[in-house]
Amino acid sequence: MLSASEHGGLSTVAAPAHWAGSEPFRIIADDGSAVGDPDVGLDDDALRDILRRMIVSRRLDRECIALQRQGELTVYPGFEGQEAAQIGSALALGPEDFVFPTFRELAVALVRGVDAVQYLQYHRGTWHGGPYDPRATRFGPICIPIATQIPHAAGYALGQQLDGSDVVTAAYFGDGSTSEGDFHEAANLAGLWRLPLVLFCQNNGWAISVPTARQTAGEIWRRAEGYGFGGVRVDGNDILAVYKVTRDAVVRARAHDGPTLIEALTYRLGAHSTADDPGRYRSEAEVKAARAFDPLPRFETWLRSQGLADDASVAACHGEAEAFAMEVREGVIATEAPPAAWMFDWTYAEPPGGSWAQQRAEALGG
């Protein structure tokens, strides 16, 4: 169970290495005290709801790791430590706005209303991509090939521009993605065509085993200038700050004022995935130090200081999280392999005959 007491107050340890350089935009300090204006346009209920979402997301993430260890999920990429970056940014989007995620955005998916069991079919190994309806949820298929979803977001944003709609598109990606050509090509287009696009980078310090310092020499947010639009660096573990900068970027995009690159500094507290052993490349001490910057206790402390949370309300959140995790667990375990015909049935809108049809019959024992 999580509580503010896990790290207790102002940290005396150093921030993760990749946070060095330009000071990120911040509203709540890591000890839970406000250092900026916490009025970001969210009312008390919305603020209480944020804590609930953070607790529920983290609990589900941990359940997923257990489910993988128990053989119920295939490899699962956890996001513990990145709840503020994911939930804060996702809450800043409007209901019609469209998200193109990576494979680590379960908390974003939950905000978008994607059914968790449907989402986890991906990791259950019962379907690829998005078994949920991406158009209905406005949340694109889970995307593994690094950075390839960013050009999709640019294309979707271009579609909105051509249609004269005011829908904003958000592309999520990590620090490693910014080394890919697809990031560059899409960012270049976004600047050139002033696309209504938010490029949201969660710099969690690690691309599997390679730290950000060995990924890129500069600061990621500064790349925006080269593409001819604005960039911003934000404390990705400060959920109000993340909400604020994303909201600003969305407003700009909606007003046809072009794209924004957001670098949210966060930290991947867990392994890259359940198949990864981070002990091979980073120290326990580093992770322990990063725990001091955990976004959950920070926001809970601030919320309590505002009188918007107490032991009872926090306990209620944990209770809900527990129940939700169990419900999802049951749903995941109950999910069976789809019919073998589905290997074939969605490949083509107009399926070929001949050898292809023959193979289908062969595969289905016909």
Binding site: R69, E72, A271, A275
Partner: protein, 388 residues
């Protein structure tokens, strides 16, 4: 109280085994869902396995230090309120069980068949199977000892056996056309076919065709079309699964040319008069002689006539022309001693030889058709009734 067996899942991506480092629980312990129960080390990482059930540990199936294959039972639980599961790990959605076993099965090697050592094309092997010939026993006459269709036929007795005596032969290289003709004929000869004969009193026919100034062939073709109208199965083909009876009558006319036997096709014969048939026959014959026939000129015959009389032959046993169920040979018309009204008289006469595909037609049906055909050919009035 139900028992549940927890088998070792793949803790990474495609790992096959893990070493049990330590048990974090003992037999008889009560455990919570997701409570760590064991530490295992794979070739990728050390991981804690959380309990998949809330319940009591009945049995631990491995000792620390053991390598446990993925899919092997690890822990048996008593789970309150659960029914006994028939199988460990209910759904096995990831198919670990199936993936696990890969015994190095000894694949028994069959004795090599002699048939496999023979050199032959797939088409020739098929022919050998159809004729129940052991292709491995045949000495091939082709390049490098390759067995040809002819070799297979010879071995099956379809053709005369090869003679081993030195006959001081000269060998003629086959031209591609000659080779194709031979192959086609071999293929056609494999069809179960029967030839039947009729003598025709050609008096009326000779008088009629002289009057029209045409050869007997167009008249016979016209009479045949009339016969086919009454007996449609004469104008049919067999494709292995169906008998197709054709409404159009395309008459293949076997012609001997310098390049070999060719069969130009007189199309839509049923719609043409005798004069037009005669013209078309002349055109096709000239084209065949000059080698000007296109592929379309030689395709899709539905019935065929070989004018063997043109080189003096009295009767023949024609091999069915491709695609037809009936191929007829028209012998030479010459005076013969016929019995007419009980007396022997000299009359112009000829022999009709008719080969039919026995899969499509039977003898009685063909007999009836031939009788009708002769009725036309031998009666002046019926001949005059044919379209001019």
């Amino acid at each position: 109280m139900g028992e549940r067996v927890f088998s070792l899942p793949d803790p990474g991506e495609g790992l096959t085994e893990a070493e049990l480092i330590a048990w974090l629980v003992a037999e008889g312990d009560d455990v919570e869902l997701n409570q760590p129960i064991a530490e295992v080390e794979t070739s990728k990482a050390v991981v804690e396995l959380p309990s998949p059930y809330a319940g009591r540990i009945v049995r631990l199936h491995a000792q620390p230090g053991n390598m446990v294959p993925v899919g092997r039972p690890l822990v048996t639980f008593h789970v309150p309120g659960a029914a006994d599961a028939l199988q460990p790990e209910g759904s096995d959605v990831h198919g670990y069980a199936a993936r696990r076993s890969s015994p190095d099965a000894d694949v028994g090697s069959a004795a090599p068949s002699r048939a496999h050592s023979a050199r032959a094309t797939p088409a020739v092997r098929k022919l050998a199977r159809d004729l129940a010939v052991d292709i491995g026993a045949i000495e091939g006459s082709g390049p490098g000892g390759r067995v040809s269709a002819g070799d297979v036929r010879a071995a099956s007795g379809t053709w005369a056996a090869t003679v081993s005596e030195d006959l001081r032969s000269t060998r003629e290289e086959l031209t591609p056309v000659r080779r194709r003709i031979a192959e086609n004929l071999s293929e056609q000869a494999a069809i179960p076919q029967v030839t039947t004969f009729r003598t025709v009193d050609a008096s009326a026919l000779e008088a009629f065709r002289a009057e029209l100034g045409v050869s007997p062939l167009p008249v016979v073709v016209s009479a045949l079309c009339r016969c086919v109208a009454e007996h449609p199965r004469m104008n049919a083909s067999w494709d292995g699964e169906h008998v197709s009876v054709h409404a159009k009558v395309n008459v293949g006319l076997a012609a001997d040319t310098e390049r070999g036997l060719v069969v130009p096709v007189l199309r839509d014969a049923e719609r043409r008069g005798i004069g037009e048939l005669a013209g078309e026959i002349r055109r096709l014959a000239a084209a065949a002689r000059e080698g000007r026939l296109g592929v379309a000129d030689m395709a899709n015959a539905t019935i065929a006539i070989s004018n063997t009389g043109s080189y003096g032959s009295e009767a023949g046993t024609p091999i069915l022309s491709p695609g037809t169920a009936v191929t007829m040979a028209l012998g030479v018309i010459a005076p013969r001693a016929l019995v007419v009204d009980g007396a022997v008289v000299a009359r112009p006469a000829c022999t009709l030889s008719l080969t039919f595909d026995h899969r499509v037609l039977d003898g009685a049906a063909v007999g009836r058709a031939l009788t009708d055909l002769l009725d036309v050919l031998q009666e002046s009035a019926r001949l005059r009734d044919l379209p001019r």
